[in-house]
């Protein structure tokens, strides 16, 4: 296994991008990443693209070939990766393994979703395909409903409060204001969240990440070659992936995502670090409760104490572990296939010291956490500036 570095990142704006197609988005992110890395297209020998459901969102499958074609990289092996909302994170892991194995030397990883071409009911149904169709979705379960069940149980078990959930959204919106690519660049208050429209008790509209369009891309190469391209080398120190039961009801405990626990253990072990060594983290906050679960399952806080940690500001930009400096899925936006790759891009910016107003001081080790469905798949990465 070779060490692997991230040498380029590219992001589109996230949001309701009516004027941009699926193809426009992924091509724009890819070109930006190639420009950022300062490489030429001819050097690329592999492409991985995360996309959850281009088939349902824009009627386009065969995404791997489409991306190679649009990027002018015909001939290059191009693979589409799908793991629901963790598609981007998993595409990154596949690319990492491809370079680490010695099979590929310069790989571009993209993540993309164009979600606003369908009406919101269709988007909700499409997202629900990440749940268990036969045993959950057919009975009317949607993702807000599944996460509402988790939130209710977490409140019951650990005394997590409605206000603590809201505080996650308030924090992430405050961070989003500082991110020029964010879907929402608007501060919100605790009252805004508590008074927003009910979605599924106890979750309200401002507890939920939005339906967004967007794309992200990063470039990977062997660490030994990285200094040819950049002085600010970000190395992949750990990569973990795990699965869990597809349906939420099959779990022994719905207040924890076993996939997060296992994937992060795998990544920490490879990186030879502990959770307290992480300086900055991008976690999967598709709903406010998901961020609380994540910061507990990743080991930043003890189980049941995530809500309190958020309330005390420990996950804010100047807290003990800044979480979702990008604004997270909540404020930055959640174009599902793009999310995992965009998380990597944010951590790379933080580690390079290029995060501008949202820069975490002296960040050396960063973590990304990308969830599929209601935790049936999880991908965790640990990056370090060399």
């Amino acid at each position: 296994m070779r060490d692997v570095a991230v040498i380029g990142i590219g992001l589109t704006k996230f949001g309701e991008l009516w004027e941009k197609s699926f193809r426009d988005l992924i091509t724009e992110a890819g070109i930006k990443a190639i420009e950022d890395a300062g490489i030429s297209g001819r050097e690329i020998d592999g492409i991985y693209v995360g996309s959850m459901s281009a088939g349902r969102f824009v009627g386009q499958e065969h995404v791997g070939a489409l991306v190679a074609d649009s990027a002018g990289l015909i001939g290059v092996p191009s693979t589409r990766v799908e793991s629901a909302c963790a598609s981007g994170g998993l595409a990154f892991r596949q690319a990492y393994l491809a370079v680490a194995s010695g099979m590929h030397d310069m790989v571009v990883v993209g993540g993309v979703e164009k979600m606003t071409d369908v009406v919101s009911a269709e988007a909700t149904n499409t997202l629900a395909t990440a749940a268990d169709q036969e045993w959950e979705s057919f009975f009317g379960v949607t993702f807000p409903a599944l996460y509402a069940l988790i939130a209710t149980r977490h409140m019951h078990e650990y005394g997590t409060t409605r206000e603590q959930l809201a505080q996650v959204a308030v924090k992430n919106h405050a961070n989003g204001v500082l991110n020029p690519n964010a879907h929402f660049k608007r501060k919100i208050t605790l009252e805004d969240v508590l008074n927003s429209s009910p979605v599924a008790y106890p979750l309200r509209l401002l507890d939920c990440s939005p339906v967004s369009d967007g794309a992200a891309a990063v470039i990977l190469c062997p660490l030994k070659d990285a200094k040819k391209y950049t002085d600010k080398i970000v190395k992949i120190r750990g990569s973990g992936q795990a699965s869990d039961t597809l349906a939420l009801y099959s779990r022994e405990d719905i207040c924890t995502f076993k996939s997060t626990v296992l994937a992060s253990k795998m990544a920490y072990k490879q990186a030879k670090i502990r959770s307290k060594d992480v300086d900055v983290a991008e976690v999967h906050d598709c709903f406010t409760i998901a961020e609380i679960l994540a910061i507990e399952d990743l080991g930043f806080f003890r189980k049941g104490e995530g809500g309190k940690a958020v309330e005390e500001g420990l996950t804010e930009m100047d807290g003990t572990i800044p979480v979702n400096t990008s604004g997270g899925l909540k404020a930055k936006g959640h174009p599902v296939g793009a999310t995992g790759v965009a998380q990597i891009a944010e951590i790379v910016m933080q580690l390079r010291g290029e995060a501008d107003k949202r820069q975490v001081k002296d960040a050396e080790i960063g973590l990304t956490h990308n969830i599929g469905g209601s935790g049936a798949s999880c991908v965790v990465h640990i990056l370090e500036v060399v």
């Binding site: 309701e16 009516w18 004027e19 606003t116 009406v119 919101s120 429209s197 009910p198």
Partner: protein
């Protein structure tokens, strides 16, 4: 000297039945506080079982005629803009022409361009008057707008209309300039023989309503060298109570400029009648010299912008011969959702 061409008279008709947004919300298990806040609407008008675009147009046209002394026979064209003409084939305009005594020396055609067909009718009447083909033209925007039960549109889709007599004599409002902006943007539509329209959700906002109104308004002001501060009043199409406030702000108009013409919160969206009822509410209080900016919006999509100046003639204009928009709004009777369902043909039996 510049020739006066513009509005000679106007009239509005609003059915007297109202349903509250809260009554609709209750049926669908929605919290009306969020609806009222989200759409800025408290109630909407509902047409009675015997009312349609033809009856609404006749009422509005008769009110317009009551306010001026013109012979209906001098009306050379009737153009009615609506997306709920009672017939798919056969015009509404001939019914109205017959009812007000304007037949048979008459050009008639029904217009359809979602919510902006009424302002398109005004533009075409003006063109015919300027080319001396007709003496007076009657342009009407009216609708009994459709909305599928349970759709977000149900809170706003209402009924009403406004009629404008256009000409060169005793013009109360000069139409100084007009400009239109149109693109093929499918944000809202109803296919042939379908009962209810479909829409693209949030796509109806930014790339549709806002893009077209902003472009039409900016381009007209640029063309004639005006800016928002030059106007005493502004009226924008009102699909809900929020969009016009937001578009006015984006364009640089103040809330004070649009408030007198902002009728949607108490009336709903009368589609082809919407911006024209708003303009009528402004004319109910306008004084000589007042400058008014109007931009309509029709899905599909396009906007018509107008630069208007109220003339001295409005002093002698017999506004009181017909009810004002606010008088029509006050004359109301609330109905529950069951009655609404009966009136709007939502009930099903065999």
């Amino acid at each position: 000297m510049k020739e006066d061409v513009g509005i000679v008279s106007y009239g509005v008709y609003i059915p007297r039945y109202r349903i509250k947004a809260s009554s609709i919300a209750k049926v669908w298990g929605k919290d009306s506080r969020y609806i009222e806040k989200g759409l800025n609407i408290t109630e909407k008008s509902v047409p009675g079982p015997d009312e349609d675009v033809a009856t609404i147009s006749v009422e509005a046209a008769r009110y317009a005629l009551r306010r001026c002394n013109i012979n209906p026979k001098d009306i050379g064209a009737i153009y009615i803009g609506s997306e709920s003409h009672p017939y798919a084939v056969k015009p509404t305009g001939t019914i109205v022409g017959e009812a007000i005594g304007a037949t048979p020396d008459l050009m008639v055609a029904d217009y359809e361009f979602a919510c902006k067909a009424g302002t398109a009718a005004i533009q075409n009447c003006i063109a015919l008057i300027k080319s001396n083909i007709i003496k007076y033209g009657l342009a009407i925007g009216a609708d009994t707008s459709q909305s599928a039960p349970g759709d977000a549109l149900e809170y706003t889709a209402s009924a009403g209309g406004a009629a404008f007599i256009l000409g060169k004599d005793k013009v109360i409002v000069n139409i100084n300039a007009t400009y239109s902006f149109a693109t093929d943007t499918p944000d809202f539509w109803r296919r042939e023989a379908r009962k209810y329209p479909a829409h693209g959700g949030r796509f109806t906002g930014e790339p549709a309503y806002f893009k077209h109104i902003i472009n039409a308004s900016k381009n007209l002001m640029e063309k004639i060298g005006t800016e928002p501060g030059d106007y005493d009043y502004a009226v924008f199409h009102q699909p809900n109570g929020k969009f016009p406030i937001s578009v006015a702000k984006k364009l640089g108009f103040t809330y004070e400029q649009i408030e007198p013409g902002l009728i949607c919160p108490f009336l709903g969206n009368t589609y082809s009648g919407s911006s024209l009822v708003g303009l009528s509410a402004v004319l109910d209080i306008a004084k000589p010299g007042d400058r008014i900016f109007v931009t309509s919006y029709g899905s599909g999509a396009g906007s018509d912008s107008f630069d208007l100046t109220v003339t001295e003639n409005i002093k002698k204009f017999k506004r009181k011969n017909a009810p004002t928009v606010h008088e029509l709004l006050e004359d109301k009777e609330y109905i529950d959702y069951g009655t609404y369902a009966k009136f709007r043909d939502l009930l099903y039996w065999e």
